[in-house]
């Protein structure tokens, strides 16, 4: 009995110590300004700083998905972020360190992890997933955080400081449709079945389908699913019964494999157009590989490795055991844009959060050397780009090749 009491008391004391220590750790250091610390270079000496810079090290946050539905993509984007910052500095002075946390694609987890990292970061290099970005929007705004989402939902462009890396899903899919019309894969008055996730991502994609449908007299058959639904048989059966001429997807890779496989099984041999998250190279090892190669077209904000052989080589050298997806280009591209923002802020002599946010807002005509589609600028509520690449699955690293270089489809301006 005595032992029990002692144990309880001990546990209570330990718990109290842990709480106290943690609380101590999370207290923000007093505001410091005028110089990033002791022996900074010439540039560093004249630059204003506040949160997230210690000495000549800038700390950026990464909220990614390493264990949830977009894990394959999250891993590659994050690796590419790391790879970029290993080789690049801000203002030739500051090195960048990333604080990488895994949300598992759960918004609540994302919010908790962010509150843990917030006192120590200057900006967010990456936040994966529309729901998590939306959940964190009020905090990003309040904390003046510049953030690059690995998501392309329209609502994200409404968040001040959040820079969608390419066209939003509606514009992206509309560019996909434009390509299909150009290639004669789709004609006016056709019927299209659209499978989409509930929530921002899926519904924004559907908005693209509906806008094109209105202009070209298409009939859209929408089928909403949850991220955990894996079997697309019922939806494809419904499309087959309706005699669809094409299928549109705003889902995750597993649903794409199921949809393509089932469509082939049912003899529904129609083109499939998807937004960029629908594809992962791992699918080409699965049973739906041939169906995907035959019918899938992906509208994408990034190019493929056939246009970026050096990046592929570099990535494979750094991560030899990973099968690289196009997330590598997304990650490398978004880091390149972040570098341009931070360089501009540094040149303005203001690397505080506010200074970084101002530099972000002033950024225009961003060029990443063909990694990402040309970005016009980050204006609230406007798609940052009107262009997309069109990719097709193939047995090459990254699993896809470019069949259409970055272009602005006929419906893009109307939607942007």
């Amino acid at each position: 009995m005595r032992t029990g009491k002692a144990l309880r008391a001990g546990t209570a004391v330990t718990a109290a110590v842990v709480v106290a220590t943690t609380a101590g750790c999370s207290t923000r250091a007093p505001e410091s300004s005028g110089g990033g610390g002791g022996e900074g270079g010439a540039a560093a000496g004249e630059v204003l700083t506040d949160v997230g810079i210690e000495g000549e090290t800038i700390r950026l946050g990464v909220l990614t998905d390493l264990t949830g539905v977009f894990a394959a993509l999250g891993q590659d984007i994050t690796n590419a972020n790391q790879l970029f910052w290993q080789d690049n500095q801000v203002c030739d002075t500051y090195t960048v360190e990333l604080d990488v946390q895994d949300t598992g694609y759960v918004p609540q987890t994302g919010v908790q992890l962010y509150s843990g990292m917030e006192p120590n970061i200057l900006a967010m290099q990456q936040t994966i997933g529309s729901p998590i970005n939306t959940a964190l929007a009020p905090e990003y705004e309040a904390d003046q955080i510049v953030n690059f989402p690995s998501a392309w939902a329209r609502t994200l462009t409404e968040i001040p400081g959040t820079g969608v890396v390419g066209a939003t899903y509606d514009v992206e899919l509309a560019n996909g449709y434009a390509y299909m019309f150009e290639q004669g894969l789709l004609a006016e008055g056709d019927t299209v079945g659209h499978i989409y996730f509930e929530g921002e991502y899926g519904e924004n994609g559907l908005a693209g389908s509906e806008a094109v449908a209105e202009e070209r007299g298409l009939t859209i058959i929408p089928a909403q699913i949850k991220a955990t639904d894996q079997d697309m048989t019922a939806q494809i059966t419904q499309f087959a019964a309706a005699g669809v001429d094409a299928i549109a997807l705003t889902v995750a890779p597993t649903q794409t494999a199921s949809a393509a496989g089932v469509a082939a099984a049912q003899g529904l041999n129609v083109p499939i157009i998807g937004s960029n998250p629908v594809f992962a190279p791992g699918l080409l090892q699965g049973p739906a590989a041939q169906a995907l190669k035959d019918n899938l077209y992906v509208a994408s904000p990034v190019s493929a490795f056939d246009a970026q052989p050096e990046l592929l080589e570099q990535y494979q050298a750094a991560y030899p055991n990973v099968q690289p997806s196009l997330g590598v280009l997304v990650g490398y591209g978004m880091s390149a844009i972040m570098k341009q923002v931070l360089d501009a802020a540094c040149e303005n002599g203001d690397l505080t959060r506010e200074g970084v946010l101002n530099a972000f807002n002033e950024l225009q005509d961003v060029d990443t050397g063909g990694l990402v589609v040309p970005i016009n600028g980050f204006e609230t509520g406007v798609s940052p780009s009107t262009q997309s690449f069109i990719l097709r699955p193939a047995d090459v690293p990254g699993g896809a090749t470019v069949v259409q270089e970055a272009f602005e489809g006929e419906f893009a301006q109307g939607l942007a």
Binding site: A227, Q230, S258, A264, L283, Q285, G286
Partner: protein
């Protein structure tokens, strides 16, 4: 009509897989009076093991070893946790299984990580056309295997000494113990059988038309839960009927989504639970469950 038949066939094949999982729930409940929430992670463990072992052992070897691993995991949960807590309130045991489930699931998700694991089924993504209706070979084989396994189980349940012992234990544990039936052994065997059934279900769940092992496999087990409940948690026949009913309801609700728009999009997802509630309102013990009688 083609759409109807196609959805029917798809619903039945999905239902057959649900029935395998639901049968596991029921066997465990009958033998150890525990509502086991560990099934989702057991299912994922089966799928993960088979996918990972396919390369070194080949498909057949991976399936056999995968089933053994799943059965062994179920056995260990029973031996080291459930058996030691015998006599604890039923609710506590159920909560304990939730805990075990979360631990196992977290580890599996960590291990699966960013990969999309593929099980190289020899039948791949091939499909069969019956009349105008297409079904993947994987699902067709699943239906046949599930049918055979369930039939074999019913025979064993009725005629084997284990089946008799289990039925006696479920009927009246104390009397059965007095008659010399070793309840611990009956319970352990029940968990092993449930583990194997979950492993078999997993094998087919990660094949066409839902290729690839991901954490979403886990969610399927949760859908088999209403199947077991609406059939009657203590009825093996009920698990079969419940599984098929849920599979059909889900398939039709998703396939005729357009006609059900007044109920809102994504209605297919809630259908298993709506069917379960509807059945329970009419028959509180499920379709084939035993009514609890209290003599006063």
């Amino acid at each position: 009509m083609t759409q109807f038949l196609s959805l029917l066939l798809n619903g039945l094949s999905l239902g057959a897989i649900y029935a395998l999982i639901a049968l596991g729930f029921v066997i465990i409940f009958k033998a150890s009076e525990v509502v086991s929430f560990t099934h989702g992670s057991l299912l994922l463990l089966g799928a993960y093991s088979i996918a990972r072992l396919s390369e070194p052992l080949g498909f057949l070897g991976a399936v056999l070893v995968g089933l053994v691993i799943t059965a062994l995991a179920a056995f260990l949960v029973e031996r080291f946790i459930i058996n030691r807590l015998r006599g604890a309130p039923v609710i506590s045991l159920a909560i304990v299984t939730i805990g075990v489930d979360i631990i196992l699931l977290t580890e599996l998700i960590r291990r699966i990580g960013p990969d999309i694991l593929n099980v190289p089924h020899p039948w791949g993504g091939e499909s069969v056309r019956i009349g105008g209706i297409g079904i993947t070979q994987n699902r067709l084989i699943a239906m046949i295997v599930a049918g055979l396994l369930i039939a074999a189980f019913f025979v064993a349940f009725k005629y084997s000494s284990w089946g008799v012992a289990m039925r006696a234990s479920a009927e009246d544990g104390e009397t059965a113990a007095l008659m010399g039936i070793r309840q611990g052994r009956v319970s352990a065997l029940a968990w092993v059988v449930a583990g194997v059934l979950a492993g078999v279900a997993a094998l087919f769940l990660v094949g066409s038309p839902t290729p690839g092992v991901s954490s979403a496999v886990y969610a399927t087990a949760l859908r088999a839960f209403p199947a077991a409940i609406l059939g009657g948690l203590d009825s093996t026949g009920g698990a079969l009927v419940g599984g098929l009913l849920i599979g059909l309801a889900e398939s039709f609700a998703a396939g005729y989504q357009e006609n059900l728009l007044f109920l809102g999009r994504g209605f297919g997802e809630v259908v298993p639970y709506v069917v379960m509630i509807a059945v329970l309102l009419v028959r509180p013990s499920g379709l084939f469950g035993t009514k609890e009688l209290t003599r006063v």
